[in-house]
């Protein structure tokens, strides 16, 4: 199991961990039985992701992709957030071991779920 230096950095020193108490968009993906659960908390202001934090139960890769994803979208627009893909997150990290690409690379899904739910609730097309 070879993780890149960047994966290890995000795993050992994860950015944006924890909860946002006054988050206005929250989403969870994954399942404990699969070994990965990622929960994203967003504070959205207008069209912008003002703040984002995560909680993750999972392996090194799951924690690293969560951390990397929050870094990629903090301060970005909702549209930009929806354009972030799993593959981009993995690329930013210098790649993931093949088996982790499907099982642990869930952070973009959690992000999209949170943003889409927020847009639906606020009538944003």
């Amino acid at each position: 199991m070879d993780y890149t230096e960047k994966v290890m950095d995000h795993f050992m020193n994860p950015r944006n961990v924890g909860k946002i108490e006054d988050a206005n968009a929250i989403a969870e993906v994954g399942n404990p039985s699969c070994g990965d659960v990622i929960k994203m908390y967003l504070k959205i202001n207008g069209d912008m992701i003002e703040d984002i934090k995560f909680q993750t139960f999972g392996c090194g890769a799951a924690i690293a992709v969560s951390s990397q994803t929050t870094e990629m979208v903090k301060g970005k627009s909702l549209k930009e957030a929806l354009e972030v893909t799993r593959d981009q997150v993995a690329d930013e990290l210098g790649g993931l071991p093949p088996i982790k690409m499907h099982c642990s690379n869930l952070a973009a899904d959690a992000l999209h779920k949170a943003v889409k739910t927020y847009m639906l609730e606020h009538g944003i097309a």
């Binding site: 404990p32 070994g35 139960f57 999972g58 392996c59 799951a62």
Partner: protein, 396 residues
């Protein structure tokens, strides 16, 4: 950085005495033991001495020992050899194994189930103990082979193989035990147990990787997986792994002599480690009953956090351990061993860490290891959504 190795069930370092014993075979003693000339005869004598040492360690006659490449070969030889040598003759196509066997047995038996065999997998309870009543009731006219390991590699749970061998004997069923984790660590006598086949491996007892042995009871036969030369009395072809054989003989001779002292010393370290972890880390649970376990192993689930993450962090702090989590094994499924004990609670299996102790483990390392575990588990729980949910449900 100073490393603390707590993964002796995965592999052991080669002991200095063992290394020294094999050095001549990497230098002047290079002959092929099958050659009739002086160079060959010289080496032949030494591998026969090694065979004696291995035999003595398990109470066998030397001619019953077949050297091979390790436990996977030994285990697969038993199952596949059974297929060739016994099933056809007697029409007994039913095999019984335990739910916690090593993959070499577990996966091979499952393959055989797809080849017209009937395979019964005997479950274990929450302590990892085998359901003996289930095993007994699974036996039928067509049962031909029972394979149950002596000690489980992930939990250290010890199985009542003497009792199972007796049950098998009474019904005319062959009995095999994978004794890889037991031999050299606890008393083991093939005649007392009355096993038909026993698998053992070198690198679990301070010999190098790539050597093992299979005990085959007198009068029993197992065709080799690899055919060709007449080595090992036609029971295993291929030019002898002389270095491996000599090493295995020496390692088992030493292990037998030092067994009771090791047991006392290593057992104390394991017990102290486990006592402290269970007392000091909240929501930690031992996998495997407290008493019926080998003194080398401690398998613990740390709820709300995932095993690979724990393993990586401990590795960073210089501590080498294993996990039953799927995420480190290259598969998508968590350990079938811990799963078999968790009543299907996969989260617990994903959270399991195996600590295994051995010859170079030190009592003075226990404090450092326990402190790092506490720290790492607290860090990972601080952003675990499962822990958060649990704490909220507790009203905290």
């Amino acid at each position: 950085m100073q490393r603390i190795y707590l993964d002796y069930n995965a592999t052991t370092p080669v002991r200095a005495e063992v290394r020294d014993a094999v050095l001549p075979f990497l230098n002047e003693l290079f002959g092929n033991p099958s050659s009739r000339h002086f160079e060959g005869r010289q080496v032949k004598t030494k591998i026969e001495a090694a065979r004696d040492q291995v035999a003595k360690a398990i109470g066998a006659d030397p001619e019953r020992i077949v050297f091979n490449a390790g436990a996977t070969e030994g285990n697969v030889t038993v199952l596949r050899g059974y297929q060739v040598n016994y099933k056809e003759k007697k029409g007994r196509n039913h095999i019984i194994i335990s739910a916690v066997e090593h993959p070499a047995i577990y996966d091979t038996a499952k393959k055989m189930a797809g080849e017209g065999y009937e395979v019964t997998i005997v479950p274990v309870n929450g302590d990892g103990d085998l359901d003996l009543a289930f095993l007994k009731s699974a036996i039928k006219e067509t049962t031909g082979l029972i394979s149950v390991m002596t000690v489980n590699n992930e939990t250290g749970v010890i199985y009542p193989i003497k009792e199972i061998a007796k049950i098998a004997r009474e019904k005319g069923i062959l009995f095999h035990t994978d004794a890889v984790q037991a031999i050299g660590k606890m008393p083991f006598n093939v005649k007392d147990i009355d096993a038909d086949f026993v698998t053992l491996s070198g690198h679990k007892c301070y010999a190098p990787k790539g050597v093992g042995a299979l005990y085959i009871k007198k009068g029993k036969r197992l065709d080799p997986l690899l055919t060709g030369g007449h080595q090992e009395n036609n029971r295993r072809s291929g030019t002898e792994n002389v270095v491996g054989m000599v090493a295995l003989g020496k390692a088992l001779e030493l292990a037998t002599a030092e067994m009771s002292a090791d047991r006392e010393r290593i057992g104390k370290i394991r017990d102290e480690f486990e006592r402290r972890v269970l007392a000091e880390v909240p929501h930690a649970r031992r996998n495997g009953g407290e008493h019926n376990r080998l003194y080398t192993t401690s398998n613990i689930s740390f709820r709300f956090v995932e095993g690979e993450a724990i393993q990586l962090k401990l590795d960073y702090h210089g501590i080498a351990v294993s996990t039953g989590s799927a995420c480190s094994s290259g598969t998508l499924d968590p350990s079938h061993v811990v799963m078999a004990m968790c009543n299907g609670d996969e989260e617990e299996a994903h959270s399991s860490i195996r600590f295994s102790f051995g010859k170079y483990s030190k009592m003075e390392d226990v404090g450092y290891v326990v402190d790092r575990i506490k720290e790492v588990i607290a860090q990972l729980r601080s952003f675990s959504p499962l822990y958060d949910k649990f704490m909220n449900s507790q009203g905290k």
